[in-house]
Amino acid sequence: MNRTLDFQDLRKKAIQALDNRVRIITAGLGLNELRAVMRGDAPTEKPNPRYKVHTTSFLFHIRPRYYEKGSTIFAHTFRLGFFTSFFFFVELLTGLILMIYYTPSPAEAYDSILNLMSNVPFGKMLRDIHRLGAEGMVIFTVLHMLRTFLTGSYKKERSFTWLTGVVLLGVTLLLSFSGYLLPWDQLAYWAVTIGTSMAEAAPLFGNEANLLLRGAPDIGAGGLLRFYLLHVVLLPLAAILVISIHYYKVSREHGISLPASMEEGDVPAEVKKNARQRIDFIPDLFTHEVFLVSLGLFAMVAGVTLLGYSAPLETIANPQVTPLDTKAPWYFWWLQGMLKLGDKSLMGIILPTILVLLLVGVPYIDRNPYRSLYKRPFAVGIGILSVLVLVVLSYMGLPQYGIQTPAATRIIQDLVPEEGVGPLRGVPYEQLSAGIYEVGESVPRDLCPSLDFGCPDLTAVFREFSERVNFAATQEDLQPFERLPDAQAVMVIEDWQTDLKKITLRINWNDVITGDAKSYEKHIFLHRERVHE
């Protein structure tokens, strides 16, 4: 009898001690309460211990205690802001690990990326995720901005939130852009060379701005180090600071706005009341967030494995060789498009500055008190128009648009681009049967009848070559630079070394205007074991 009593006593004491420990760690939730949270049951004590966490824990203190029910509707926010922050944390984490393997100097940067991919287990996956996260963050930031614009959530007391948002948009784009240079490949080098050359066009202090960014007239060791430090120190610090401010405004001050349809006009009191019901952070919002994080992680990991997203890596940066098609990262194509329309300092500096000012000014320019889409046709119209203009400008920013590359160069460059794979490099090595293949009026059904299975891929590439040359040779209503009168074209494949072929593409033609004989040719080498992504 005594013994059992003692035992029960001990058990009680132990549970109590455990409960105390747990309360200290969870900043206020006891064992029973934790269990209730996991089950989604009502609080077990009074006053609600779940609110206490928000005052005693630092991490929870910056989270909201509750959101109003109406504002948590999925189709109101699409969780875009949430996922933007999710991507940011993914970037922080993967970035910190990548830093271990990266050396910011022109002599070693590219090699350190190669080493990461060839020698570090999961190195390629990390790099792919970091790249995917960066692009995701840009996409989601822009969509999030669009959403807050369309729901009119930038009005009145939320205008400062919008302002910090605009700063975050800038920080996000700069983070992406500064990271772009770090692999030190041709893609990076030339995109950033073009990007920074815009600074040069700034009135008054253009030269100084350019020098400050690049560290020298051209990007070199100095420029790379500067971009590295921007990317890993200054910009992340700025992002953490401003995201905190932005988020604090939302979580602790104004909450997320309610959908206009539950707030504006004559909404039945019943609906209003329902919309204002509190949804507590613990457990509802918190489990929802954990769920979204696991979804996000799954999507990213599946993206870089099952769906095959992979961060590009071109040949090592070469300041002496300007690629034929230089291309900014896609989120700056609109700027490249604008640059084609006019003067560099007008289109590259002055107009973008005005655009930023307009964006900052949105809450102050738009004095319309309503938030519903239907009551602000003008603002919504402008929003849609801006998106369309951005898309069109981006299209115009593509290297293929508005740049007159001579036909012969264009055709050969399309078949064997300087960077990336292109159709010819994609042909399986076994099909590259040595020979001289002349472009004639008709294309043979199979170029290499002597091979067991023929060479369908090589034949397809040769057909494309022939068709484009014949088109340029025979169509007389094309522009002069697109024409190749009397064209003769040939593709030569030679066995060059063990497992190495040399391929020559050549086009001869007579100049449209002068009638002089012209020729353009390109040689490439292909090795059997080359991996083309």
Binding site: G40, N119, K124, S294, L297, I316, T498, V531
Partner: protein, 281 residues
């Protein structure tokens, strides 16, 4: 189930799936890294081949065969097996290539056979020695040169010929030629480097208004400005190979084409080459 329970269950499933994918990825990681490493070696060779072509070909030959009197071959057995011992180099042959190419060579070690440009015999190539190439580019060229090792011909003996040389008499009776074999010879004998993939000599393939070499040969020997002895297309082509200066094609300098094919080609090889050229109209 309420919403919280659904979300917890789905979340657990997602985490498990993610873990599964990572596990599966990890199992294949060794292979992927090995494949990437091989791919890197392959692309080094591709890049090296292109750099060799722009920088080294004129001296060391398009296929590294060297040019007698000017530059040593880089593709023969002697170079890969004995050269480092001969010069007393203690490292590997690949290091020897990188070091030699980086710093160039002030005076030739074999001035009687390979004098190069004189002084320096070979200019330095690395940026750190005042040359045009980066270190990684030189390593790529070395990778390309090393890729000759597997097929390096042994030139310590006189090349074994399958028969007596054709000589320089263009009236000899040639055996029946096989154009398919001729196409292969065009590469192995070095003709392609000047006539097909590059335009150092007149192109063989038809181009623009100029017909192919086969068609040109048919009319050339009867043209007014023709200075050689040929009386048929076959003879003209044979003459162009074994005695190139008998008639020098307009627009090209004499002596560009090697003068000794009469001694290095057999009658059969010459016939195959001619049959191949005649097929290019």
């Amino acid at each position: 189930m309420n919403r919280i329970q659904i979300e917890i269950s789905l979340g657990v499933i997602f985490i498990l799936l993610t873990g599964g994918i990572i596990l599966w990825y990890g199992i294949n990681e060794e292979d992927r890294m090995a494949e990437f490493t091989r791919g890197q070696a392959a692309s080094a060779i591709e890049v090296g081949a292109a750099l060799y072509e722009t920088n080294c070909k004129d001296c060391h030959g398009p296929q590294g065969e060297g040019v007698p009197g000017l530059c040593p071959p880089l593709n023969d057995k002697y170079f890969f097996t004995e050269r480092v011992d001969e010069v007393g180099w203690s490292g590997t042959i690949e290091d020897y290539i990188v070091a030699t190419v980086s710093s160039g060579r002030l005076t030739s070690t074999r001035p009687d056979r390979y004098a190069g440009q004189g002084r320096p015999a070979m200019p330095p190539w690395a940026e750190s020695y005042g040359g045009p190439l980066r270190e990684d580019q030189i390593r790529n060229i070395a990778a390309f040169i090393m890729n000759w090792q597997a097929t390096a011909p042994d030139r310590s003996q006189e090349p074994v010929m399958a028969g007596p040389p054709v000589g320089t008499d263009i009236t000899v009776e040639l055996p029946e030629g096989n154009p398919a074999l001729g196409e292969g010879l065009a590469t192995t004998k070095g003709c392609a480097g000047c006539h097909i993939s590059q335009a150092i000599g007149p192109g063989w393939a038809a181009s623009g208004s100029v017909p192919g070499v086969g068609a040109r040969a048919e009319t050339r020997y009867s043209a007014a400005d023709y200075t050689g002895q040929a009386t048929s297309a076959q003879q003209y082509l044979l003459e162009s190979i074994v005695n190139p200066n008998a008639y020098v094609v307009e627009g090209y300098a004499a002596n560009l084409m090697p003068q000794n094919y009469g001694e290095t080609l057999t009658a059969q090889e010459a016939a195959d080459l001619i049959a191949y050229m005649l097929s290019l109209k």
